[in-house]
């Protein structure tokens, strides 16, 4: 019975899975880029930039992701800025997670020994070159394990896109369940699909952590 239903539901859920993957990857990209911008502003040594970034990160951190999604999808159109549900989901999750990414990146950058900065400066490097050649390459190693964890959280939080009508995996499941009343089959499948995507990431993070401990 389960297997028969599962075979029937699986292709429908795969459509949702496709959107889940797209939302996750796109918002991961956006949150990484934006998070790096916040972090670099914080450590730039320019007070106005650092203050602005700190305020932005605190505002973003202080508002639930779901409210940010509602804001982008329902409020911005009133100001003449309209996004499709997919765009709004990617932008919303990207911005929301940029705050966590930036804190992680900043911690990584600040963990670099101050002597590295002095060595770079004494070679005549400017700020941008020092970041690119000396600081960021070393910070990446420190930042990677928590970055992997963020990826896992984003994969699961992509389900919040369902609240603004993106028919991703969780939403597809809900729609299937409410139309067929096969709650246990549908949600078991949904849970398994999330797990199948998460477990490789979890193993990857574990490997990164072991590797960073070794070096």
């Amino acid at each position: 019975m389960f297997w028969k239903d599962a075979a029937l539901f699986f292709p429908i859920l795969l459509e949702g899975l496709r959107l889940t993957v797209i939302v996750t990857l796109a918002s991961l990209l956006l949150s990484t880029a934006l998070g790096l911008v916040w972090a670099l502003m914080r450590v730039s040594g320019i007070k106005a930039l650092a203050f602005f970034a700190q305020c932005a990160v605190n505002v973003i951190r202080g508002i639930p992701i779901i409210v940010q999604l509602f804001y982008i999808y329902f409020v911005l159109p009133e100001l003449g800025i309209t996004f499709t549900a997919m765009q709004a989901a990617i932008i919303g999750l990207g911005i929301a997670y940029s705050a966590y990414q930036s804190e992680n990146f900043r911690a990584g950058i600040e963990a670099i020994d101050h002597g590295q900065i002095e060595a770079a400066q004494s070679l005549g490097m400017g700020w941008a070159m020092m970041m690119r050649r000396v600081i960021v390459p070393q910070a990446v190693k420190i930042v990677l394990p928590p970055y992997g964890n963020t990826m896992i959280m984003m994969l699961k939080d992509s389900s919040q896109a369902s609240t603004i009508t993106v028919a991703e995996l969780a939403m597809k499941g809900q729609m299937l369940a409410s139309s067929t009343f096969k709650n246990s089959t549908v949600f078991t499948l949904v849970a398994l699909l999330y797990l199948v995507m998460s477990v490789p990431l979890i193993l990857f993070v574990g490997w990164l952590e072991r590797r960073s401990k070794k070096s």
Binding site: Q116, A119, S122, L123, G124, M125, M129, P137
Partner: protein, 247 residues
């Protein structure tokens, strides 16, 4: 008279309310080796750090090759390529090999072609006795080897002077000699050097002049042998007594 490589004119520096440099006047001419000695916290390292702009000073003037050192001016980059620095804790880039550490400045700051920088980088590593270590990461090297790579990195910039900030203080005693030997060779080849050090033997044999700093002022300055063997000022005498006979 030619322009001195390094000039300090009535240099003052505060760390908060702490007045660490109280009017330092000194010049270092081309080819001169000057050792700066004094108790810890006396401001020795701060002097070096003001010369290449790692630290700002708040009174007087520091000049390198006649150009005023100003951390916020664009000229600071060229000043830093004129005077290299060797640090107490080496500060090698741990994610790069010995050779990559040496060519980093020439290739990325001075925009030298990679091929010629590599050739010169290998020569410099050979000169500090580390020809066989070009592919080693800093973590695979001993302290003495790391400091010699750091000296090669400083030389790779083809500087007019090198500042040494307690280059042997972080080393195990048996590794001090190999670093001092490299520095001695540099001095013999005519490199202009300012060396903050506790190695009185090195200062006596290699330095042209010695500055004794205490409490942010130059208490006594003079030719190395004279200052170290017949110090005039009681504070210099007292310091040397404690350093040379610590027990």
């Amino acid at each position: 008279m030619t322009t001195p490589v390094i000039e300090l004119i009535d240099v003052h520096k505060h760390f908060g309310s702490n007045h660490v440099l109280r009017g330092i006047n000194a010049t270092i001419a081309k080819g001169e080796v000057v050792c700066i000695i004094g108790p810890s916290g006396s401001g020795k390292s701060t002097i070096l750090r003001c010369v290449n702009g790692l630290e700002a000073y708040d009174g007087g003037e520091v000049r390198v090759d006649g150009i005023r050192v100003d951390r916020s001016a664009p000229s600071i980059t060229s000043i830093r390529t004129h005077v290299s620095m060797v640090f107490q804790r080496f500060n090698l880039f741990p994610h790069r090999t010995a050779l990559e550490n040496v060519i980093e400045g020439p290739v990325f700051v001075k925009r030298e072609p990679r091929e010629s920088a590599l050739v010169r980088g290998r020569e410099l590593l050979a000169r500090v006795g580390l020809a066989d270590k070009e592919d080693a990461r800093p973590a695979q090297l001993s302290g003495g080897q790391m400091q010699r790579v750091a000296i090669a990195r400083a030389l790779a910039m083809q500087p007019n002077a090198i500042l040494f900030d307690e280059p042997t203080s972080a080393l195990d005693p048996e590794l001090v000699g190999e670093v001092l030997a490299v520095m001695r060779t540099l001095a013999e080849e005519g490199m202009t050097m300012a060396v903050v050090t506790h190695e009185m033997g090195f200062a006596r044999e290699v330095a042209d002049r010695v500055l004794f700093i205490d409490g942010g002022v130059i208490v006594e300055a003079g030719p190395a042998k004279q200052l170290l063997t017949e110090p005039q000022h009681p504070r210099t005498q007292d310091f040397l007594r404690r350093v040379l006979r610590p027990i």
